[in-house]
Amino acid sequence: MSRLLNKTANKTAGSAVEPHGWTKGVLQANGWLVYAFFYAPILLLVIFSFSDSRNVGVWGGFTLDWYEGFVDSQQTQAALWNSVKIATVSTGISVVLGTMSALALERFKFRGKQVFDALLYLPIIIPDVTMAVMMLLFFAEFFDVLNAVFGTELRKGFSSIALSHIAFSISFVSVVVRARLAGMSSHLEEAALDLYATRWQAFRFVTFPQILPGILGGALLAMTISLDDVVITQFVTGPGWTTLPVYVFGLIRRGVTPLINAVSVVMLMASMTLVALSLLVERVRNVGTNQRRGF
């Protein structure tokens, strides 16, 4: 009976919580304005990237010249490949490390766990500039020491950027994977262990397939952030080595040109592709949850 009452209460509740009158009008207008605010600048940028005018914000007829310029420019091509290399390497490594930390934190108790948890949180909330300063000073002081200790011949540029990107990517991957693990009971893993699966088998055949969407989501997030980063990369890079955002940032500082419009739109498309992929993963993730509920 009380459940029935609750149900009817919920139904009528909609009417007073549901905005109406002028409140509704204001809320609706605000909603549309927010979306216009979000998307108008992006749309305008795309339009102007096809404009045949030396002035970046003026429409002068349709052209693909700026994109041709992008493809022909060896510097932008080199910077683009550097970005892709960094993103791939740092994402690859941080996915493995981030997933391992997520498993450790979500499924095990161990000494130093709280410190590790806090240490893992910091790279997410620390401002870019501070992290950039940290890495700059670290590599200035210790790069030679590192090379001596590990017997490597790393140079500033690719290695220093990749090492810095891994340092923040681990945290992002681990947060996403942890969220997935937290919403998942460990009963299935325990069942597998009870049925004489080894630890590795239980992980490989039970846990891993379930957290895969989380791992992919974390990887996409790490990749997006790595491809976006300007400040940290600019601080730790070595001579003659640059990524696409740092290169573009440098161009903007020297003065805007329509070529930057075109490069920006290419970067925009890259982000959009990653968003689309992550939404797809999100869907798979939801399907997974539903199946679990049915089970």
Binding site: A13, F108, P123, D128, D194, S264, L279
Partner: protein
């Protein structure tokens, strides 16, 4: 794994305290081994750099732009009270606060509206908030440079309305605009999460008890959504305070903020100790706000 805590029947028969203790030790070792690589990595490439920044902030800059680590002193921190530095600090605080307030005013009604939609509409609306959140930061700021620039769409609009040719680029207004544009999703998402969790019947009840719309907002909705307000405010305030790309692209050289000032110390002025001290101040603000947030009972950012 929790398998230890819930032994199967066969195991329970032999589960002595020693057995259990050994099993727990083994589990602890397994967990530690799993965490070990990232732990070591973060200590080496995050904790050590953090300590270096602190050490540098007490060092002295020598005549050649290098840094002497021997004589420790507070000179870099003393410089914080210089008028120029104080101006920059206060300006940054003020602009970051203003950005946070504007985001809050825009995002609150938006989040409430979002929370009262049907699930299908809501998800669609959320996706379109997430897209800018994922889109390249530099590109989004550059877009405003194009819009506000010479003869750009913005001047076209002001001329059309009859305001004449207005220049917005390279001003504080442009910087705040860019910051709001960059960080608005950070405000919307936690606010939405907080408002969506509220039991709507409480709002109902307040209205039934003759509260006006405003009263029910002030006494029920706002207090209950406070965790979202605080989380969103921190997520907007901290990066705004440390912003470097936005003021650089939209503010030009006239509007120096803390983030850009720190960068200048390293890339042009070559005063590393002072730059380190400034970064430490920024980090301290970040840590304080975060700790306050967790103290107030917020769990995840």
């Amino acid at each position: 794994m929790t398998a230890v805590k819930l032994p199967s029947d066969a195991e329970a028969a032999v589960a002595t305290p020693e057995f259990e203790a050994a099993a727990i030790r083994q589990e602890s070792r397994r967990g530690f081994l799993l965490a070990m690589p990232s732990y070591a990595y973060l200590v080496l490439f995050f904790a050590v750099p953090l300590v270096i920044v602190v050490v540098y902030s007490f060092a002295t800059r020598n005549r050649f732009g290098g840094t002497d680590l021997s004589g420790w002193n507070l000179a870099s921190y003393a410089r914080l009270s210089e008028p120029i530095v104080r101006d920059i600090l206060f300006r940054s605080l003020w602009l970051a606060l203003l950005t946070t307030l504007i985001c809050l005013v825009i995002a609150y009604p938006f989040a409430y509206y979002l929370a009262t939609r049907t699930p299908v509409v809501r998800n669609l609306m959320l996706v379109f908030v997430m897209i800018p959140f994922w889109t390249n930061f530099l590109v989004r700021n550059y877009a405003w440079r194009v819009i506000l620039g010479n003869d750009g769409p913005f001047t076209d609009v002001t001329e059309a309305i009859g305001l004449g040719e207005r220049e917005l680029l390279f001003s504080k207004t442009a910087v705040v605009l860019g910051l709001v544009y960059s960080f608005l999703p950070f405000m919307i998402l936690p606010l939405y999460a907080a408002i969506e969790r509220i039991d709507k019947r409480l709002l109902e009840a307040s209205r039934d008890l003759y509260a006006s719309g405003l009263q029910s907002f002030r006494k029920v909705l706002l207090p209950l959504s406070m965790p979202g307000v605080i989380a969103g405010s921190i997520l907007v305030f901290v990066p705004s305070l440390g912003a470097y790309v936005t003021p650089d692209i939209l503010g030009g050289s006239k509007t120096t903020l803390l983030g850009s000032y720190i960068v200048t110390q390293f890339l042009t002025a070559r005063n590393w100790p002072f730059g380190a001290a400034l970064s430490f101040v920024l980090m301290a603000v970040m840590l304080t706000t975060t700790v306050v947030y967790f103290r107030k009972g917020g769990r995840t950012l």
